[in-house]
Symmetry: C2
Subunit: 581 residues, 2 copies
């Protein structure tokens, strides 16, 4: 592996020892799919559990689990059917297909910032002007068209029942928001998370565990009253400093991060909602807990044209990786009421919440008044349908459309100002109806796991040591008889059994020289090796060896459970485990 | 809810408090999809964690995570493309579609045992003879045809790249077996599990959380040397008694279970492989840990025509549920080498393992010798393809086909005895090549969770108490100030904070009368309520209230962490938590 970059070396280790590798190799491999193996799956789950601990349990937020497959209307409402697509060109000779924007980035020297803003027409023009050909066979390329990057299927035996694999877990929360809100007794602010597989039908994914067609997403949807954006926990992170690459600096060509504390960021008004920066600070700590150093993390503020269609302000959290440079591992978006509003319009179900207040509140609301006679004349027997549909229309959007275009398209009906009157009505209520706003922290679990592996990967005396934090190491302990005779294996198995009964994840190994066994466990990040030797048979003590320093201490077997529980909960450190040898 | 059956009452509670409910209700609902809510998702995960503890950690087996979407060849090799289908009829009038076998069960009084064995022709005959009509509109029904009950999609931008949503997690393990086997240093026997979403495109699912189109499957694939079927852990379960409904008794019309110990089952040869019964005994214990009584569990031995296409001997573990009677929650199948062989044939990759031995072993192997001249004459320029394909053919299957039919179909080529010679060859080796055999315990996580809810659902003094085992209760502790004044909330929040920092899942609640709060927490199965009262302000003690008995004890705050850790790990019981009041 000399000369190999870190990704190659980690991939070799990951494949050999069971962290991750490409799926379906016996069938020639299908890009964009990977397996997490006997060690990787546990490590990945432990990282997800850390998210649960920091973002859910400690904040008293909740996790839900909803299906991966959803009916088409969900993704119409969410905007994905319209927006979740990429420009595609086909080689007219070899019929291979490519991301048109990627070709422009590669052969026309355009940045993704530039291609993101281009229309299909502009892309076509650029391809023609630069005379870009198929990178595989040099054939001519087709006109670009959009390819919907969701996996499509049919639900049940009816071909018109279109469903999609979810590209994010968020919609499963938005669709169910009303019920969730009732279940938590109308608490606001409140967060609901979902951790699960998501699907994106990428045109031609590469980059191993970084760009996947199927991956695990960690979506937290945090709902709050837009009139109360204050975060009461801000103090807990006030002095945490974040490295921000601000959009305005990027426009000026300055990609250097500015280092600011949470307090400063809020004071300078750089982030609109306090909770937004609070979650970013927690995320920075989460990554630090995964051993990713502060200077290898940063937050990029996205330009409007780079943001997802639902986002009003967005930051990507990036980690520096050896092969690819800065790579996004999480996104923090202010989704406003975009999604709930979308589902309210599409389903006709009121997604607003009601907050009572002491004193009466006056508010002005736009209302759509259907002009029945005129509607009947225009739409004949469809008139009742039109009237019904008008009930679910956003009056502001309708008024805006009438003003701009002179008409409003709705379920195939064209409404003009002769069909409706948009009136302003005053309401006096002891409380307010409103659609909660949403801040969304969203992590890629696979990328986090890969990043943690890369930062744990260390060479010492020509050997690999995987310095994983002790709480994400897939195997906690190894129990090893010094030699495989004289009753040592039997004694070691006793110790193994005690630790298994205490709930630890333990491997027993008596094959080969002890040094080679230590090396094997160092390579997969086992924090502690417990060795049973001749002394053990005399006084019931064992040695405990530290993975990172190779130092050893001696401890009594009967004290092990208590010591080790405290060690893995970070209450004590290696030196507290016993007497130095 | 008077007169409602248990399912209705649990569904009401589950929907109101956040255990589970049907998905996509705002869009009219799509049958076969449910959500697990803020309480249900955690409870379900804790049940999955119990499986991990019993079947993986304690046995030193491993978990992996592979994609839900797989290319077509995977399910060709596994037999699903051929076998995973159901008979479907369409109403010629209203165009509704139905499971033909379900209609026969409902309107022709046939059992599922009978319909499972019927061909499409027989089903058509029965529908005609009985004059069965559309149950919705009384229209005539179409000819039955098979409907593939996998969700189909396309991977990437090429329409010929067919993929399916996995109907089981098992294939993700079989496809990767060679690599997994290397990763565990060629250990055999060895188990690999996978817990994840699976998809079955049911024609018209009903039954809430019982029959789902998307569900969580827990598949453990246990690989062993068929010449070494002995289980060394059998002693640990030897006296465990299982209620078996044997296939031979069912044939005689006797559906009563026989109660036998594991020892007796093995001695009588009722189950072919020791590991098979060992896993069944562990599963019985798992369900007992979920509070499902022994007499509400049983194992049904499946008839050959009821078994999945890959199974040689199979038992369903059933639980008695109030609405549906006996319902399968797990299956235990002896899959032999069916799957690895299938992938070996389809991919051409050798799936055999090699076990060295001391002495030389002689074995006779059938080999296919292509007769090139004759092949060239018949197949012309396709001859090289035929020769290549013959390399991956199972010689036994080929010889058998030639004997039976006079020809063998392969990739569209018809091979006869003039094209090949099947010869027997002797090998002498220090070891054996063989395909490991597989026993598969497979659980439905959603059904287990529902069953645990049903058996926890109890009425006491007209109120619901959810007597969940303490290790699967979604909320572990509630901290409650007796009243919401006089500094009690502040003190209670201190206690809350201590317990959160210790890693417990805790709710704080100060709203309303204490009795109503207790009731609210009883209803969702919180094992212990900790109450802060005026006494607390004097001596730093709190009361701890038991959900099931409503008894209370008094304990010091500073002792709580240690006591509660031991309580939740079943090391102590309620009475050990403090002094009775």
């Amino acid at each position: 592996m000399k000369g190999a970059d870190k990704f190659e070396r980690i991939s070799e280790l990951a494949r050999r020892r069971g962290f991750f590798w490409p799926s379906y190799e016996i069938y020639g491999g299908i890009s964009g799919f990977i397996n997490w193996g006997p060690l990787g799956a546990v490590m990945k789950r432990k990282i997800e559990d850390k998210f649960r601990d920091i973002f859910l349990r400690r904040l008293n937020f909740y996790e839900i689990e909803s299906p991966i497959i959803a009916p088409e209307r969900v993704f119409k409402a969410s905007g994905h059917v319209d927006h979740f697509k990429e420009p595609l060109v086909e080689c007219l000779k070899c019929r291979r297909k490519f991301r048109a924007d990627h070709l422009l980035q590669e052969f026309a020297d355009l940045s993704s910032q530039e291609t993101d803003r281009m229309s299909l027409q502009e892309i076509a023009g650029e391809i023609e002007q630069r005379n870009i050909k198929c990178p595989e066979c040099n054939g001519a390329l087709s006109e670009p068209k959009y390819f919907l990057t969701m996996f499509q299927t049919t639900i049940g035996p009816y071909s018109e029942s279109v469903g999609y694999g979810r590209p994010e877990a968020a919609q499963g929360i938005f669709v169910e928001f009303k019920r969730l809100y009732e279940q938590v007794r109308e608490r606001l602010p409140i967060g609901f998370a979902q951790i699960g597989h998501a699907l994106r039908n990428e045109i031609s994914p590469r980059q191993g565990p970084i760009r996947l067609r199927e991956f695990t997403i960690i979506d937290l949807e945090f709902f709050f009253d837009p009139e109360k954006p204050q975060c009461p926990f801000l103090n807990e992170v006030a002095d945490e400093s974040l490295r921000l690459v601000l959009a305005e600096n990027r426009l000026k060509g300055d990609g250097k991060p500015v280092k600011l504390t949470v307090k400063e960021i809020v004071a300078q008004g750089l982030i609109k909602v306090e909770w937004h920066v609070f979650f970013m600070a927690l995320a920075k700590r989460l990554l630090a807990d995964l051993s990713i150093p502060e200077d290898k993390q940063r937050f990029i503020e996205k330009h409007p044209w780079e943001r997802a269609h639902y986002s009003t302000q967005g930051f990507d959290q990036e980690v520096y990786l050896d092969r690819w440079g800065w790579v996004e591992v999480a996104g923090f978006n202010y989704r406003t009421d975009y999604d709930l509003k979308g589902h309210m319009m599409e389903s006709g179900v009121d997604m607003r919440v009601f907050k009572p207040s002491e004193k009466e509140i006056m508010r002005v609301e736009m209302q759509v008044k259907p002009l029945i006679e005129s509607i009947s004349q225009t739409f004949k027997d469809k008139a009742p349908k039109v009237v019904e549909a008008l009930q679910n229309v956003d009056p502001n959007a309708l008024a805006e459309a009438l003003k701009r275009h002179g008409f409003y398209e709705m379920n195939g009906f064209r409404i003009t100002s002769e069909h409706v009157e948009v009136i302003q009505k005053e309401f006096r209520e002891k409380g307010r109806h409103f659609i909660p706003h949403v801040i969304e922290p969203s992590f890629g679990s696979d990328r986090l796991t890969y990043a943690a592996l890369e930062y744990a990967y260390t060479i010492k005396d020509d050997r690999v040591i995987l310095k994983l934090p002790r709480d994400i190491a897939p195997i906690q302990l190894a129990v090893l008889p010094l030699v495989s005779r004289d009753g040592l294996p039997e004694k070691a198995k006793e110790v193994y059994r005690i630790l298994i009964d205490e709930g630890f994840t333990v491997e027993y190994d008596d094959s080969g020289y002890i040094g080679r066994r230590y090396a094997r466990f160092d390579e997969v990040g086992v924090p502690l090796c417990i060795t049973v030797d001749y002394q053990t048979l005399k006084d019931d003590t064992v040695t405990i060896r530290d993975r990172d320093t190779w130092r050893q201490v001696r401890a009594e077997i009967r004290g092990l459970p208590w010591l080790l529980h405290n060690y893995f909960r970070f209450k004590i450190n290696f030196d507290d485990l016993g007497l130095p040898i």
